[in-house]
Symmetry: C2
């Protein structure tokens, strides 16, 4: 048995989310179809570091799979890419030790949420949230700094999230303007893991700060309240992209 | 009668080109449908500065139309935008003198052709040509400078182009790397007008230069040959975007 670590990018627009679902085109479904075909028609599971929501994109999603046969990584990369559509692309394949596990091996994830404060732009509509109004970016920058570090993020998770433990660590959180187009905000989060809807709910609250509906330091009270009703409106999925996943110890 | 100058942006991906065609969704067809509805159901023609090819995008296409009724420009903008799909957007509307003609009034057009020299990126596939190999950009920069000025561009036009006069002037031509991602080349052309496939054929030849299949100064011989078979392969449509149109004398 050979374990492969696979890094993939995808345009989430035309997938019904990440996780396999019967009769729906999903990222996991597509990649497993290709993997199983290459692995001599044996059903092959792709274990991802985590799911992404419907319409969310990835430049560096990571998963692993086990093969009965051994194929040089560059050939496996080519084989997957010639068996998938053009909205999903394998960036990298490597052989890893069987102790490597995409979900359980220690890692950090980087997400960027993009917002267009300028005029509506049709070409960006599936990749950048078309907010199309101005925001007080300085206040948002003050607010985001309160999210840094280890917190119980219960106030920002999905109502349906069943997880007992909502304690996560955010190593980096920043808001910058695109060099190419200063109307585009890039909200970056790097952390040891994110809960369902956590980033989109945090961004939703940051937008409320930018609209001056709440002051920047009120985000602290939301955090400590652990009350899911306080975070407000969730930001739409299409602005979010999983940029990269870095494993702390590569095996 | 009131004449309006309309600036619009569109994502060309899901249109069967610009020009009205029966039973096909085109940019002109969509905008005329909205205009005619707003203009009290009278058939209203949208006269564009020029057509764009199928799959080509625009950030600043310009056209004019004549209305039987008079509407404040900001209201007309809002009315068109609420009667079109999200891949077409009116950026600006203004009332103009009846002597203004989107095609015949003197103007200059700016196009940018984008190429990704780095790894395939699914999210860019409809907006940036996924060349995915390196190119000798310095040689391309040398070659593009020979296109500046007034020339007979017959060698670079479509085989089906019937135009007698292929003399056009290019005021600006440059190749820069994106500030956000240096693997993305931006080939900019500003000129008094471009013929069918001219930019895509010029870019195709510049790519040949970047591949070192021809030397940068051979582009001069192609120009002077006026021979359509010499230009080589046309670059794909989706990398091209009509960035803006500036009228020399606004009326």
């Amino acid at each position: 048995m050979t374990r492969y670590k696979i890094t993939l990018s995808y345009d989430g627009s035309n997938f019904a989310g990440f996780q396999v679902q019967p009769n729906l085109r999903t990222v996991q479904g597509e990649i497993e179809r290709a993997l199983s075909y290459i692995n001599q028609q044996r059903k092959t599971t792709f274990v991802a570091a985590g799911r992404t929501d419907r319409k969310v994109h990835a430049k560096g999603q990571v998963g692993h799979c086990d093969f009965h046969i051994e194929i040089p990584p560059y050939k496996l990369k080519r084989a997957i890419n010639s068996n998938t559509d053009d909205d999903l692309y394998v960036v990298h394949v490597e052989k890893v030790d069987e102790r490597f596990h995409a979900r359980f091996s220690k890692h950090k994830k980087t997400y960027i949420y993009r917002i267009n404060l300028g005029e509506y732009q049709p070409m960006e509509r599936n990749y950048i949230y078309q907010y199309n109004h101005n925001l007080d970016v300085e206040s948002m920058q003050k607010a985001i700094s309160f999210l840094l570090g280890t917190h119980d993020f219960r106030a920002f998770v999905s109502e349906n999230e069943e997880k007992e433990n909502c304690i996560r660590t955010i190593y980096q959180a920043s808001i910058t303007r695109s060099l190419e187009n200063p109307n585009i905000l890039q909200i970056l989060f790097e952390g040891n893991g994110f809960l369902k809807y956590q980033i989109r709910n945090m961004v939703g609250y940051l937008i409320k700060v930018g609209e001056k509906k709440v002051s920047p330091d009120e985000i602290q009270q939301v955090l400590t309240s652990k009350d899911r009703t306080k975070a407000g409106k969730r930001a739409p999925a299409q602005g979010l992209c999983l940029e990269k996943i870095e494993y702390v110890e590569e095996i």
